[in-house]
């Protein structure tokens, strides 16, 4: 997890006529209110972070929080007003049009909330589209696209038009299209938000399966905190263009940085999110029960067994080496403690 793929340094995106000049005058401290009074709207406010190879960063925020704008800055669908963005060490904002197109054709894929399929092309034509844009022969692109159709499980529907598919199926096409050029970096802009809850869950599982296989570097945008917890390696929570907290799901749940983040974590069933590793006692004592749990186990799955033990339970890593211990009371504290009492 050391190679940095995406790196943002003090990225700003401000909409408005004289945004650039105002940003220069502000010396890097942007107050949304004063900007708004001068007719400028702050989309992204001083965002700095890195995404490593194979990591999935989920950017979570409510509508208007600037999460989509941030993504569009990084894919350079819109130019950032200030700051620096590096993609695999290349300064994105310095690329000329041709280099940018080259980057998109070979390195980037993107999935959209409203699917954004081309209405006049069939499933397979839509998926083959980025390949044909690259200049790949029609026959080759179609056969490659057929592989993608299989990957997302749409066999038999390759000659359908987007309008003939359900939402979930359309988004599978969107996913397949974004993967057709085998990009290293994968942007997903609220890909499952327009889908029904059951389909959404199914697509999330499918997505995790794909990511397990493909190991892309991912930026995933969502407004659904549960979705973020389920998918993310790390989560960035945004509000009014500012990244409020950027951390692993467990740390966010356990130590919300701001009041705003805490509100999201309150209702989260921790036993479903946290791993044993997140709550265990790192000091190893001798007085342990015979029962052992893996540190990568989700609490919910082992809670019942731990609670039946009288002594602390040993926690082991994948080599069966004891790395810590956990007391049953800790489980009870985690699950029920620290939450607002519900009257």
């Amino acid at each position: 997890m050391s190679d940095t793929v995406i790196k943002c340094e003090n990225v700003f995106k401000i909409f408005g006529a004289n945004a650039e000049k105002m940003l220069k005058d502000s010396n890097g401290v942007v107050d949304a209110k004063t900007f708004q009074e001068n007719g400028c709207i702050v989309g992204v406010n001083n965002a700095s972070f890195e995404v490593s190879k194979g990591e999935m960063l989920v950017v979570m925020g409510l509508s208007g929080s600037g999460k989509s704008t941030l993504l569009r800055c990084i894919s350079r669908l819109t130019d950032a007003t200030g700051g620096k963005i590096f993609i695999e060490g290349q300064d994105l904002l310095k690329l000329n049009n041709k280099e940018l197109i080259d980057l998109r054709r070979n390195k980037m894929g993107m999935v959209f909330q409203s699917f954004a399929l081309l209405p006049h092309k069939t499933v397979v034509e839509n998926i083959a589209f980025p390949l044909q844009i690259k200049g790949i022969e029609i026959d080759d692109s179609i056969s490659k696209a057929m592989d993608m159709v299989k990957l997302v499980g749409l066999e038999g529907r390759e000659n359908y038009f987007p309008r003939e598919l359900s939402g979930g199926q359309q988004q599978r096409v969107g996913i397949a299209r974004s993967l057709a050029v085998e990009p290293d970096i994968w942007f997903l802009d609220e890909p499952f938000s327009a889908l029904d809850p059951l389909i959404r869950k199914e697509m999330q599982d499918e997505f995790l399966r794909l990511q397990d296989k493909l190991q892309k570097t991912i930026m995933f945008i969502t407004h659904d905190f549960d979705e973020a917890l389920k998918l993310a390696d790390r989560i960035a929570i945004m509000k009014d263009g500012v990244i409020e907290q950027l951390d692993t799901p467990a740390n966010i749940v356990l130590n919300p940085a701001t009041e705003y983040v805490r509100k999201f974590t309150e209702e989260v069933p921790r036993e479903k999110v946290l791993l044993i590793e997140d709550v265990m006692d790192k000091s190893v004592t001798n007085n342990l029960s015979d029962f052992k749990v893996s540190k990568d186990e989700i609490i919910e799955n082992v809670a019942e067994k731990i609670l039946t033990q009288e002594k602390s339970v040993a926690v082991v890593d994948s080599n069966n080496k004891v790395v810590g211990s956990i007391n049953p009371t800790k489980i009870i504290n985690t699950v029920f403690g620290g939450r607002k009492s519900s009257n």
């Binding site: 669908l77 980037m108 959209f112 954004a116 589209f129 844009i133 690259k134 299209r177 974004s178 050029v181």
Partner: protein, 717 residues
């Protein structure tokens, strides 16, 4: 007072009407008032006043300025003429190489440019024409085969009609399937058997040049306007005027610039057909969802790919409507441009109408309409065509169409060859059925018309007289009785009430232009005819539309009927009414009503359909009956869209009124028609056209402003 506060608009309107009528009664009709008021011509009459502007003398009959404004813009047509003449004959003479005489020749630049364009157009038309009808001129133009010109035998025969018929059927099959193929074949066979082959192919060759060129230019300018705000701003007013400008009016200036013949007709058709194409391209491109554009960008499209692989295909729906419009305009121009010497069905149609040979006119008109429908359907099928990537096609399957066409050519040629032995009279029916040797139903129709006329003469005559004496004449007198100032107050007041000061100023400017032109009275007559047509059309259209809307199938059926009727060239509408009512104002008005009812009906159905389903359900659950639902829910919500229909109805009505001049009316159209045969007609024709366009734009502005406000008010903008 409370009433005034509650309904401020009603009282504003009332006040306006009171002022209007007060002015009408306060201003007397001058005793010397004659229907014809001013002339931008050199007729010297001792009673006329005159003024000189820019060295142009304008004579007119002077009235009190409250009654009629003096024609202060009377110099405009003369000035346009002079400028055109100067451009064509004197401006910027240059040396040009003439390859025929092998010498340099001095010619004004504009003349040379127009001649170049002319020769390109002529070449294109002739090329297609020679493929369809025979000849070798164009091909020789590329080479130096002098022997072709000097040997009469070296003439390429055209394709036998059997081959063209089979070819179009095969093409239709490849594009769409059996249904269209049968239709295409039948159309071609019909044309041939009824002896319309040659003029039809002439018209077709004209269309096959004009339509694609209009399409290309329309889409090109549409893209430019989409890319650059500046281009859009520059184009917009021109597009707006062109939308309401009668097609007649463009004839005369083009005549001056490009001369007489098919090439000039193609250029005029482009002038008329390109604006709607531009507008619809722009509309379609604007409506492409931003995420689709982003998806295109993220797929790595460069600008070119983004435009042609993402934007235009996604905007296909609107662009196809544009193609449909282009084809419609082309066919309607195919008839109108017969006035400036275009050959083909249009020429025959005009000739037949002139001779009052309704049967012949009907046959020619039917041919034009059939070809129009066929091309429309084919272009639609072509745009919707899908590629099959997975069929493992054999060579035979892939090249089936070409193969069949080859066979058709062979059989056709053999048949034509055999035919030349069989038919000894000099007409080879298997090659081409000559114009006057086909089956003709003209006699039948003529006799039918005579019969109808004989049998129902009394009733038709009675109706005709009643309409003219009791309705039309009084209405016309009423319009002409309006003092210019009163009309101006009424129009500007309406503009102010509806759209505030901005709208009032625009409308005032447009009205003043007409009032200061020498044709204010004529414009009033045009307006009266259009008004009558629009009122009746709206009543019919709204009623029919509402009735058809009650049932899904009848609504779809009606929209289909509207589609087909809209494909007919506007001139065709004159045929049946002339059959029944002869050469009277009634004929024109009935043609106007039929033509203008199409948009009225269409927009009524579409408007009612656009009412959201949830509202229907909500209304039903509130316990309304069908009638209540219609009056309380559907009409109020559909009204803005229906008003847009009214807008279209007005434009259609104005077009038809102007075309009606061909039958003989006393309005602006008559003068446009006159200008055609006047050597100084270009300026007059253009100014008259602008007058008609402005009448349309006045209503357009008022209605659009109202609709926008209303939509905002209802929250459905």
């Amino acid at each position: 007072m409370e009433l005034i506060k509650k309904y401020p608009k009603v009282f504003q309107w009332l006040f306006l009407l009171v002022v209007f009528f007060a002015l009408c009664f306060a201003i007397e009709v001058p005793e010397t008032y004659k229907f014809i008021r001013g002339q931008a011509e050199f007729v010297k009459d001792p009673n006329q006043s005159f003024y000189v502007f820019l060295g142009k003398e304008v004579r007119y009959y002077a009235f009190d300025v409250f009654w009629r404004l003096p024609p202060l813009l009377g110099w405009l047509p003369i000035w346009i003429n002079d400028s055109l003449f100067f451009l064509m004959n004197e401006w910027l003479p240059m040396e040009f190489w003439n390859s025929d005489t092998q010498t340099y020749k001095t010619r004004p630049l504009v003349l040379q440019i127009t001649r170049e364009i002319t020769s390109i157009m002529t070449f294109l038309i002739e090329l297609i024409r020679e493929i369809l009808l025979g000849g070798l001129k164009t091909i020789v133009a590329f080479t130096s085969w002098d022997w072709v010109g000097s040997n009469s035998w070296a003439k390429m025969p055209g394709l036998p009609w059997t081959v063209v018929a089979a070819g179009s059927a095969i093409l239709a099959y490849k594009l769409s399937g059996k249904g269209l193929a049968v239709f295409a074949g039948l159309v071609m066979v019909y044309i041939s058997i009824f002896g319309q082959w040659k003029p039809s192919m002439q018209t077709l060759s004209f269309i096959l040049v004009a339509a694609p060129l209009s399409f290309i230019f329309g889409i090109g300018f549409g893209i430019l306007a989409f890319k650059s705000k500046r281009v859009e701003k520059a184009l917009y007013p021109i597009l707006l005027v062109m939308q309401t400008m009668p097609q007649y009016a463009v004839l005369v200036p083009a005549l001056v610039l490009f001369g007489v013949g098919d090439h000039a007709a193609v250029i005029i058709t482009m002038i008329v057909a390109v604006p709607p194409m531009i507008l619809l391209t722009l509309l379609g491109l604007r409506a492409v969802p931003p995420e689709v554009i982003e998806a295109g960008r993220m797929s790595g499209c460069n600008n070119w790919q983004l435009m042609f692989k993402v934007l235009i295909p996604t905007a296909r729906r609107d662009i196809l409507i544009g193609v449909n419009q282009v084809i419609m305009v082309c066919f309607s121009m195919a008839v109108i441009s017969a006035f400036i010497g275009a050959k083909g069905l249009g020429f025959n149609l005009l000739l037949a109408l002139n001779q009052l040979n309704i049967g012949l006119a009907l046959e020619a008109g039917l041919c034009i309409s059939l070809i129009a429908i066929l091309l429309d359907k084919m272009s639609l099928a072509w745009a919707n065509k899908q590629v099959d990537y997975f069929g493992n096609l054999t060579f035979y399957e892939r090249n089936k169409s070409v193969l069949y066409f080859g066979i058709a050519v062979f059989i056709g040629v053999v048949l034509a060859y055999l035919g030349s032995f069989y038919f000894k009279q000099g007409f080879n029916y298997l090659f081409e059925v000559p114009h006057n040797k086909g089956i003709s139903t003209a006699d039948f129709w003529n006799r039918g018309v005579d019969w109808i006329f004989d049998t129902f003469f009394v009733y038709i005559k009675a109706f005709n007289t009643w309409l003219i004496v009791e309705v039309l004449q009084p209405m016309r007198a009423l319009y002409l009785r309006m003092p210019a100032v009163a009309t101006l107050v009424l129009v500007v007041g309406a503009g102010y009430i509806i759209g505030g000061i901005r709208s009032a100023l625009v409308v005032c400017g447009l009205t003043l232009f007409i009032a200061l032109s020498p044709w204010w009275d004529r414009a009033l007559v045009t307006t009266y005819m259009a008004t009558f047509g629009v009122i009746v059309s709206c009543i019919i259209g709204f009623t029919v539309g509402t009735l058809c809307f009650q049932n899904k199938h009848s609504a779809n059926f009606m929209l289909g009927v509207c589609d087909i009727f809209q494909t007919f060239p506007s001139f065709v509408y004159l045929i049946p009414v002339m059959m029944l009512f002869g050469i009277t104002d009634t004929s024109v008005l009935i043609a106007v009503i039929v033509y203008a009812t199409i948009p009225a009906t269409r927009y009524t159905i579409e408007g009612l359909r656009s009412v959201p389903m949830a509202l229907h359900d909500a209304a039903t659950m509130s316990g309304v009956n069908k009638f209540q639902r219609l009056t309380k829910i559907e009409f109020p919500l559909a009204f803005p869209h229906m008003m847009l229909g009214l807008n279209q109805t007005i434009v259609f009505a104005l077009f038809m009124v102007i075309i009606g001049a061909f039958i003989g009316t006393e309005d602006l159209g008559q003068y446009i028609l006159k200008a055609l045969s006047d050597k100084n007609g270009a300026g007059i024709g253009l100014t008259l056209g602008i007058c008609v366009a402005f009448i349309g734009l006045i209503f357009d502005n008022l209605i659009r402003t109202w609709v926008e406000k209303r939509k905002q008010h209802l929250g459905i903008a």
